[in-house]
């Protein structure tokens, strides 16, 4: 019954843990916690696990596909048992020896109340998928569905039917229906499904759970490029964001991995990356997301590899590479047809056929205007938000990132930890490490009932 069955998360040797967010940080935390002896409930707001990482084409610095790393995690997740098997006979299979893990998609945490002994009572709400675990992803429904809508996973770069697999490599491999897009009283998919897997009357359901600790790994969203009016996003189809480029480059993406201009599908000859698009800017994001420089360098490299004739310019204020990533930037700059140009792009003129970037080249001290076929806005990361009471009550910093460690033992949010980009912008490997450290803190909390960082609290 996949993640639609009853939520039975047994008490592990270390107690029970709730992980909020099924992205790379949440997945890592959930799996490691299960391996360490927690019974884990992993909840995800979207219809699939994997989060932002599933949208990426390649990681830096290794330039390898993230689906590979994701696949390893999903295998670990399966080996932890739980109601993940598509085989109905395995639903009641024993939990893994080291712990157990159950996941729920389309689920949000509504409310968390502190109960005695430092434990938390959690109320979850799961939105209906309208497709049951009987779905074999055969696609018969999609061929009869009359509604086309912009595909959210591909950021609107292609359209998909109202009933669709969330993305090509989605886990769980179940279709989902976007009921807001559906035509009223249309039931074509129901009759087309050979497995009778579609249930348009599926209700929303609420679940309750008592856990020792909570790890928030709610992740990030790309900064809304529509706000960058000076940079022409939305006014010219060939001005895209860095995440859109990931989709354009991905083999399962809207163009089958062929990076082309969205306006007319031609192969770009001049690609411009606009760094700090809305970052380090008092009007947009005042902070530096810390990964966009490396992400653009990575994208520039796979672009150059895919189209040997393309010229790439990266317009930046400062080239920022944290820690040992400096080398990656240096290697990137060795490419003769890839240039780093100091100077923030102040405006992208989209009045003509091709976008024109206006900037001061700080190296030469000249105002320049550069025409590009494709403009990539390197937008930053903003923390994902939710309007549930449980989320609203969490401590956060000035930019909305969650602060988990500061809570004193006697505060309501004590015993709730934060991992990954929900805490601050970071790259994938840092997120994974951050998840591990959050699990370690949760373990300490489960054992002592105190926040490890609260030196004042009584034992």
């Amino acid at each position: 019954m996949s993640d639609q069955g009853p939520l039975t998360v047994p008490e592990g040797p270390r107690g029970r843990l709730l992980v909020v967010g099924g992205g790379i940080a949440g997945l890592s935390a959930a799996i490691e916690a299960a391996e360490a002896g927690f019974g884990v409930a992993l909840v995800e707001r979207e219809a699939y696990l994997g989060g932002r990482v599933a949208q990426m084409h390649q990681y830096f610095p290794k330039l390898c596909p993230p689906l590979c790393g994701l696949e390893i995690n999903l295998r670990r997740l399966r080996s932890e048992g739980g109601p993940v098997s598509r085989d109905p006979r395995r639903v009641s299979a024993p939990w893994g020896a080291s712990g157990s893990l159950a996941y729920l998609t389309l689920t949000e945490v509504q409310e968390i109340t502190r109960v005695s002994g430092g434990r938390h009572r959690v109320r979850l709400r799961q939105r209906p998928r309208f497709v049951t675990a009987r779905c074999t992803a055969c696609g018969a429904c999609t061929s009869v569905c009359p509604v086309e809508r912009p595909h959210p996973f591909d950021l609107g770069l292609r359209s998909s039917k109202a009933i669709a697999l969330p993305h090509a490599a989605a886990f769980p491999t179940l279709y989902a229906i976007d009921r807001d897009a559906c035509e009223p009283s249309c039931t074509r998919c129901v009759s087309a499904c050979p497995q009778q897997a579609i249930d348009l009357g599926m209700p929303e359901r609420e679940l309750e759970l008592e856990v020792a600790a909570v790890i928030w790994a709610t992740g990030w969203e790309p900064y809304g490029a529509k706000a960058l009016t000076d940079l022409g996003f939305g006014a010219h189809p060939d001005v895209i964001t860095n995440l859109m480029l990931e989709r354009l480059a991905a083999p399962q993406g809207p163009t089958g991995g062929r990076i082309t201009c969205p306006s007319d599908g031609r192969v770009p000859e001049r690609v411009a990356f606009v760094q700090c698009a809305g970052s380090r800017d008092v009007d947009h994001l005042e902070y530096c997301s810390g990964v966009c420089c490396l992400a653009s360098a990575k994208q520039a490299r796979y672009l150059r590899a895919a189209h040997p004739g393309v010229d790439v310019s990266i317009y930046y204020i400062d080239r920022r590479a944290a820690g040992n990533q400096e080398r990656f930037l240096a290697t990137t700059a060795e490419d003769e047809r890839l240039q780093f140009v100091p100077g923030k792009v102040a405006r992208v003129d989209v009045s003509g056929r091709f976008p024109v970037l206006e900037f001061e080249n700080v190296a030469t001290g000249r105002l320049e205007a550069a025409t590009a076929d494709l403009v990539v806005l390197a937008t930053g990361m903003v923390p994902s938000q939710s309007d549930t009471p449980a989320f609203r009550e969490l401590g956060r910093d000035a930019w909305g990132f969650l602060t988990g460690l500061e809570a004193r033992t006697n505060e309501p949010s004590a015993g709730q930890f934060v991992a990954g980009c929900a805490r601050q912008p970071m790259d994938v490997s840092s997120s994974v490490r951050d998840a591990t450290s959050a699990v370690a803190r949760a373990l300490a909390w489960g054992r002592t009932g105190r926040n490890a960082f609260d030196r004042r609290g009584a034992p």
Binding site: D230, R258, T260, D264, G265, R266, V267, E269, R270, C276, R280, D281, V282, D283, H284, I317, D318, A333, Q339, F340, V341, P342, G343, K344, V345, A346, R347, G352, R353, F354, V356, E358, F359, E360, N361, V362, A363, T364, G365, R366, L367, E368, A369, T371, D373
Partner: protein, 450 residues
């Protein structure tokens, strides 16, 4: 002119465009930051300049900057570092018209527009003589002394003039019909003599400063090979004056477009009053005047011109004052009028800004009060008002070469310089190159279009 600081200092070269040939390594030049200048800039409107991260958005959005060595990005760096030599030989600070297009767009709220204004004030102070008077003009305490000195000067001159008995002679002298009691306290001849002296002082101080500034500019311009052949003087002067007459530069500003009108009113009001003043000064020698009674009636065209000019001046001052006050949060919460909210909200104008607006307004308003009191023959008060008017005029003239008002000399000089050496506004350059840029079409091969 001076490309970027990176070229001559020990900063790391970041240019990807330099040829890779192992050129002779330029000897690193020692840069001596002037912390005193930095401190002064921070205190005169540049308080946020430390926020600047050299992203160059300001240069890229400025409509007045030349394409080559644009401003104000480089000035922001020089200001942060206190590189006085560069700052005082930089023509660009005077090309800026303080429209705040850069301030609005600065992603850090560093307010480059205000920094440029602070730099202009620093430039005026740097070139003015004597420095003691310049310092006095830069602070409220100094202003008190200047006002007192002006009053004392006027009183002394008036008493001295009385003692010579010239007043009586003037009043009874035959030929002219200038015989009005109004003038007995401040005789015409005295005022002409006094103001000619003060005016000569202004010309001398500004002239000296301009001469030094021009030399500094030439030293930088002549070292740049691209501008080896300057334009003719006459042509340059015509072009420079044209820019002033039409207020073209103000017109390219986006954010504070209203400044063109406000500043125009002040300029043309001043010009109108100057014309009337010249007429008054030459009245006795003026053949057109015979048969006229002086002072003039309200319907007299000269009087009309003077009053109109005065009204224009006051209106212009009020408009420009409102522009500044709009940045004040208490009166215009949320920056709803200025578009400069949050970190960009500045202390609404510096002392120098208000000194100028205040002095001009005081001169014109006391003038109008005097005129009114005179019309209604309010005898005791009108002399007092006239005295106040004359003191404010004297103060204005004394302060002029050290205050923001000195821009009438320095900016004109800067215009002349850029016209002579062919530095052009970006808007003009862009208008010429725009059609060429749009012709650039990428090669499209049919097989590449799916």
């Amino acid at each position: 002119m001076v490309p970027s600081v990176g070229d001559e200092t020990t900063m790391v070269k970041r240019s990807p465009h330099r040829d890779s040939a192992p050129a002779k390594k330029p000897r690193p030049k020692r840069v001596v930051p002037d912390r005193e200048v930095v401190r002064r800039l921070l205190g005169s409107g540049g308080d946020a300049m430390g926020q600047c991260m050299q992203c160059a958005t300001c240069s890229a959005v400025c409509e007045l900057t030349p394409d080559d060595a644009p401003f104000p990005r480089k000035e922001m760096l020089w200001a942060q570092w206190g590189l006085v030599d560069r700052l005082v030989s930089d023509v660009d600070i005077w090309l800026c018209h303080e429209c705040h297009d850069c301030t609005v767009r600065c992603p850090r709220g560093a307010r480059p527009g205000d920094v440029m204004a602070a730099l202009r004030q620093a430039c005026v102070s740097h070139y003015s003589f004597p420095q003691g008077l310049a310092r006095a003009a830069a602070a409220p305490a100094g202003l008190v002394w200047i006002v007192l000195a002006s009053a004392a000067l006027l009183a002394a001159a008036s008493i001295g003039w009385d003692a010579t008995g010239v007043t009586v002679a003037e009043l009874t002298g035959g030929g002219t019909r200038i015989a009005i009691p109004f003038w007995t306290r401040f005789p015409h001849g005295l005022l002409i003599a006094l103001f000619l002296t003060v005016f000569a002082f202004d010309v001398a101080v500004l002239g000296l400063g301009m001469r030094r500034y021009w030399r500094a500019l030439s030293a930088t311009a002549l070292s740049a090979p691209t501008r080896a052949t300057p334009n003719a003087w006459g042509q340059s002067l015509r072009a420079a004056l044209g820019r002033i007459v039409w207020h073209d530069d103000f017109a390219s500003c986006q954010h504070e477009a209203r400044r063109r009108f406000g500043h125009g009113l002040v300029v043309y009001g001043t010009v109108g009053l100057m014309v009337v003043d010249l007429w008054v000064v030459t009245a006795r020698q003026n053949p057109l005047l015979s048969g006229l009674v002086y002072p003039l009636g309200l319907a007299d065209p000269w009087k009309l011109l003077a009053n109109l000019a005065g009204v224009a001046l006051v209106m212009g001052c009020v408009m420009m004052g409102i522009e500044r006050l709009r940045r004040r949060e208490r009166w215009f919460p949320g920056g709803k009028w200025s578009g400069l909210e949050g970190v960009r909200r500045a202390p609404s104008g510096t002392y120098g800004d208000w000194l100028l607006l205040g002095l001009i307004s005081t001169v014109v308003l006391t003038g109008f009060v005097t005129e009114g009191l005179h019309l209604f023959r309010v005898d005791e008060l009108r002399y007092a008002a006239y005295a106040a008017h004359l003191v404010s005029v004297t103060t204005l003239f004394v302060v002029l070469p050290y205050s923001k008002l000195a821009h009438l000399a320095y900016r004109t000089l800067a215009f002349l310089f850029v016209e002579r050496y062919g530095l052009r506004r970006r808007a003009a350059v862009r208008a010429e190159t725009a059609p060429a840029a749009s012709c650039a079409q990428p090669k499209l091969s049919p097989q590449e279009v799916p």
